[in-house]
């Protein structure tokens, strides 16, 4: 296999390698795996595509996301070769204009790119969709999310403190990849809601703000749980309150059990959250309310302005099930000026 990337001679010491990678601006501060020719070739081969094939040019600096360059970053992050189709699909997804990648890449906001994997690939690749799925402990979750950040940084040119201007950053910028816990509910998983088959594997990418955990171990019915979630969505300073856009709600399995028992389903849940997840206008700073009014003029025209819904419609609530046991769910605001994108993973090239 002919690879085009420049070869770098680096000492075998892991610490010297780390120093070199950081000096070049390629790292995230943690040790990396040397992306040797052999490792990169294995990644390319597992993608089923030629190394020179371009998937597009990634803003800000419009580096060419070839299969080879994706493979180099995947190898450096510690990915197994079989993770490549997930990464290639995630790269394809962020080019959808609704994702607003140019805005997401350089903003002062605290944005991470969350990859959610759906379907059989979760098990084939060992992607955790249960306990501690956002945390440490699973190689697929950790390294796919890490590789995706490397791709945005090293191919797209979003260098922290330079062209990535985030005020605080985001813990999820080290890595943010989970699976949907499809087996924990009787409802269609997100990729099926979005028109794919249950037997398909798919990736959803979402430009997320930091998570808000919802702790409701006291409610004994589904409506109580939903009220706790709705109240956690109500932040006058969030991007969603100011700009609309999509908000993510991740339902924990124990909350799902209560909702299913009480006859709730995703359309009713979204409708409830849309109606209850409204920020009273008196909670806004006056100038910030005017800012929201300017950016969400259609919405404001039809509201009495006693309260502001944090999304522009119930369809803007991106709802799915994930996580392990415990009476918890998550609310994850987004960049606001963005929408998540779901794409089927095409494994047909990989044989």
């Amino acid at each position: 296999m002919k690879l085009a990337s420049v070869r770098h001679e680096v000492a075998e010491s892991p610490l010297e390698l780390l120093e070199y990678v950081m000096e070049q601006g390629w790292g995230d501060g943690l040790p990396v795996i040397p992306p040797t020719e052999e490792r990169v070739a294995a990644m390319v081969e597992a993608s089923g595509r030629p190394p020179e094939e371009s998937r597009g040019r990634i803003p800000h600096l419009f580096g060419d996301a070839t299969i080879e360059k994706i493979a180099v970053n995947a190898a450096m992050a510690g990915c197994k070769p079989e993770y490549m189709p997930v990464l290639v699909t995630a790269v394809d997804a962020i080019f959808d204009p609704v994702y607003n990648l140019p805005g997401v890449q350089g903003t002062t906001n605290c944005i991470a790119q969350l990859i959610v994997v759906h379907g059989p690939a979760r098990y084939a690749l060992g992607i955790n969709c249960k306990e501690n799925l956002f945390g440490q402990g699973w190689r697929a979750n950790a390294t796919i999310g890490r590789a995706f950040r490397f791709i945005l940084q090293n191919i797209g040119g979003a260098k922290p403190g330079d062209t990535d201007r985030s005020t605080f950053g985001h813990q999820g910028k080290f890595s943010s990849c989970i699976g949907e816990n499809e087996e924990a509910s009787p409802w269609p998983p997100l990729h099926v809601e979005r028109g794919l088959e249950r037997s398909d594997s798919a990736v959803t990418v979402i430009a997320i703000d930091p998570h808000i955990m919802v702790n409701d171990a006291a409610s004994t019915d589904g409506e109580g749980v939903l009220q706790s979630i709705a109240s956690s969505m109500m932040q006058a300073g969030s991007n969603n309150a100011l700009f609309g856009g999509e908000m993510v709600v991740v339902l924990g399995p124990e909350h799902v059990d209560m909702l299913v028992r009480d006859g709730w389903d995703p359309p009713r849940i979204r409708a409830f959250l849309y109606e209850r997840g409204r920020v009273p206008t008196f909670l806004f700073a006056p100038a910030n309310l005017e800012r929201a009014r300017g950016r969400r003029d259609d919405l404001m025209a039809r509201e009495d302005l006693a309260s502001v819904p944090v999304v522009d419609g119930e369809e803007e609530i991106c709802l799915f099930v994930a996580g392990g046991l415990g009476k918890h769910s998550l609310v994850i605001p987004t960049f606001g000026n963005t929408h998540s994108v779901t794409r089927r993973i095409d494994f047909s090239f990989t044989g």
Binding site: H60, F62, G106, G157, D162, T163, R165
Partner: protein, 59 residues
């Protein structure tokens, strides 16, 4: 705040010599008259940038 970023982006798009006029950060959360002052301060530079022939791009 975004000047170096802008220069790198211009270079990446093949316009290394793109004239860039900048104002001090921040532009948000400041009184309107300060915004007007900043605008007045750069008006001439913007006009020059729009009318001058930029140096040949380095590619």
């Amino acid at each position: 705040m975004f000047e170096a970023f802008g220069r790198k982006k211009a270079r990446a798009l093949g316009f290394a010599g793109l004239p860039i006029v900048s104002i001090p950060h921040p532009i948000t959360g400041i009184p309107l008259d300060t915004v007007h002052t900043h605008a007045d301060e750069i008006l001439e530079s913007v006009a020059e940038s729009l009318t001058q022939t930029p140096p040949e791009d380095e590619g």
